[in-house]
Symmetry: C2
Subunit: 466 residues, 2 copies
Amino acid sequence: MLFCRPLMETSSDRRQEVLAETLARFLARGAHANVTKLLGRVRPEDVAAVLERFDAAERLDIFRLLISDFPDSAGDVLTGMEPARRLALLEELTPEQIAGLLERIPVDDAVFVLESLPPALHDQLLELVDLRELTGVQAQLAYPEHSAGRLMDTGLFALPETVTVRDSIAAIQEKRDVEMIFYLYVTDRDGHLIGVTSLRQLLMSKPETPLSEIMQRSVIKVHVETDQEEVARQASRYDLLAVPVVDDHNHLVGIVTVDDIIDVVQEEAADDLLRMAGTSEGELLYEGRVLRVARLRLPQMLISLAGLLATGVLLASFQSRFPDALFLLAFVPVIMGLPGSVGGQAAAVALRDLAAGQFAGSGNLPAFVGRQLKVAGVLGLACGVLAAAAALAFQRNPWLGAAVGLALLVAMPLAALVGALTPPLLARLRLDPAVASGPLLLAVHDVLGILVYFALASVFLRHLAG
Amino acid sequence: MLFCRPLMETSSDRRQEVLAETLARFLARGAHANVTKLLGRVRPEDVAAVLERFDAAERLDIFRLLISDFPDSAGDVLTGMEPARRLALLEELTPEQIAGLLERIPVDDAVFVLESLPPALHDQLLELVDLRELTGVQAQLAYPEHSAGRLMDTGLFALPETVTVRDSIAAIQEKRDVEMIFYLYVTDRDGHLIGVTSLRQLLMSKPETPLSEIMQRSVIKVHVETDQEEVARQASRYDLLAVPVVDDHNHLVGIVTVDDIIDVVQEEAADDLLRMAGTSEGELLYEGRVLRVARLRLPQMLISLAGLLATGVLLASFQSRFPDALFLLAFVPVIMGLPGSVGGQAAAVALRDLAAGQFAGSGNLPAFVGRQLKVAGVLGLACGVLAAAAALAFQRNPWLGAAVGLALLVAMPLAALVGALTPPLLARLRLDPAVASGPLLLAVHDVLGILVYFALASVFLRHLAG
């Protein structure tokens, strides 16, 4: 994110600004008829973006107008909103109103909205949704979290291999409700996925050709239980606009479209960023609720607190062995900080390589760890020499310089080793690897740094004390 | 990234594994004819992924076979590789060979490969590319880095508004070289973008209808200089498969397709992650070169070193005022660590909100900062009480408890304030906001923590010393 503001404002920025101002003016005048007229003329995505600029009460007013006059677009607006604002809005509606909204949006979007809600509201809605026979939603929620089954759109379009090009085009012309058609999946008599072709290929082929003759037989596909991140990786690697989803028996059960894949990539990136900082995506859902957000962060914070207290006790007890050498303290922040930095860097690169599927080859992880060790060694040498020079300049004590320099030279590669190994290890244990480079690991690096530093200082004790 | 390994292995994983094993077996036997035969039968994307599993020499062998026998797919393999491996391969080839490869891939991919190279190689290649009249590449490289102009595909397909549906379909059937057609952009006589329609809409319309009657007139578009992150945001918000790119005069000059948009989102996410850890994407390009990577990280590391040394001098000089109260030290890591954590959390949430375009409304930033302050206040209170209790238990000194508890209560919100404000501020100054939550800011939090802690300790001096 080198530049966060667009180098040039886009037309949609300007459009949203005008929309926001006009809406605000109409609302201030209580001109609800005008608001309704305006809402009928704009894209639901723009309304979703513009709603973020209003306060909670105005947002609810506008949304209520949408529900009564444009119920279809109200559902789309809901899908396009930020989680915290969506939750706040939904809590003001009756469960029946919400169920009514969910019925009007595609099943995969309904699943997405339901998933983003707190468990209590989610369960309450599911009961209502069940009554209304939105069974598709129930079925998709039965797949594991973050799986292709949760993400997929089941309103897919597939034809048997014996159908001709002419009939396929006729079928597409009739299917007005399927939103995005660019690939045409081909199945055998029993619904097994056996090929794929494109709308464009249809246009290029003779009308009487059966699909079996023009289809590509090798299809990139995923299983219903494949993790969404892997689905995104497949789509990205093969530049696909949609990935077909099959069950255990290769029956085609849905497709994941590229718009949802972009959402997955963004969501996972945000999640990694937040987890690395020691919090989580729940932060976005509960953003207005101070206590909820604080509670999200508290567990890791308490573990950090315990780790840092232990470090402190170590520090105080070590220093008490050098009562006359308070100057040792001047290097404690460096010894605690730099290994933490280099460990965090190794962990960040490991996370990125994990996300890119880089540790698939057997030799890749050891090679990676080796590289991180070497880089940390070089940095440890450079920083060690500089810190030792500072110690000499500051205290004219070569033994202090040696202790500081050696401590960095040892602790920095050690921290890089821990940082590089922890994320892949956690991933292998099916735990969250992003936590690894967060506050937790920093406390580990602190303890390691202090131990190495004071161990070396003890060795040089006689000279230091003098 | 909750689970990094797929819950279920995908078919393409297995395919790549089989491919890797077979290739390795053929290579070991020196059966080059078999290798060639195999390479001719598989997807370039799979070859790119599988090459990552071989060592440098084998990789070069396989790639040389590709160049001589499947030059078209060699270019695609190159595009699909990790930057570090791509660079290593390219450095083994002659500039003429590289130029030959670049000529065979789409202009936007050639721009992408060139951009990822170190400046020296890049310049050398550009001279050759110029000679061969790949002028499109030159023109695109003239746009700012990370702009839509760099990213776009200029081999687009647009038709004038007066063309009929029948003639449009005929034109698409002839245009065999344009890779992805799903939208059909419509221009006026002078090449201005005035509408868009889809392949599917064409199929649904009467053959004699002119495009002007079926096209949608309000087109989401971006300017050539729009930042790529904004392009991705538009595509994601409106669920587009491609975004048209126009110049100052609304002339349609290219399109950015969704496959490139996914790459942008992934790249920006990786970049944020690495910058937050105090390094950069160059890490991925130079991964094998220890000294290059170390040099990338060194500048920030040195600033950290300076900051931490200053903290250390502060710490030592403060502690020298309490020669009998070494137990003060036991809380120094807590005082340095927890504010840093909460500051990093505020910065991470700010980064995520920046990426989601959340600070567009004028009141949004103050509201965000206010929320972060409150959360940090709650956490500061909780951690402060616990740390004070630890101080009481540990030293039976209520004054120490008061100093520790109050220090956290003050320093944690202070750190959250700095962490929350820095990324948006840097973004507004057109600087990199991700650096904000990295090692640099940690040093700032350290100094702040120490200052607050010892200032409070000084107030309670008499009681503490006793």
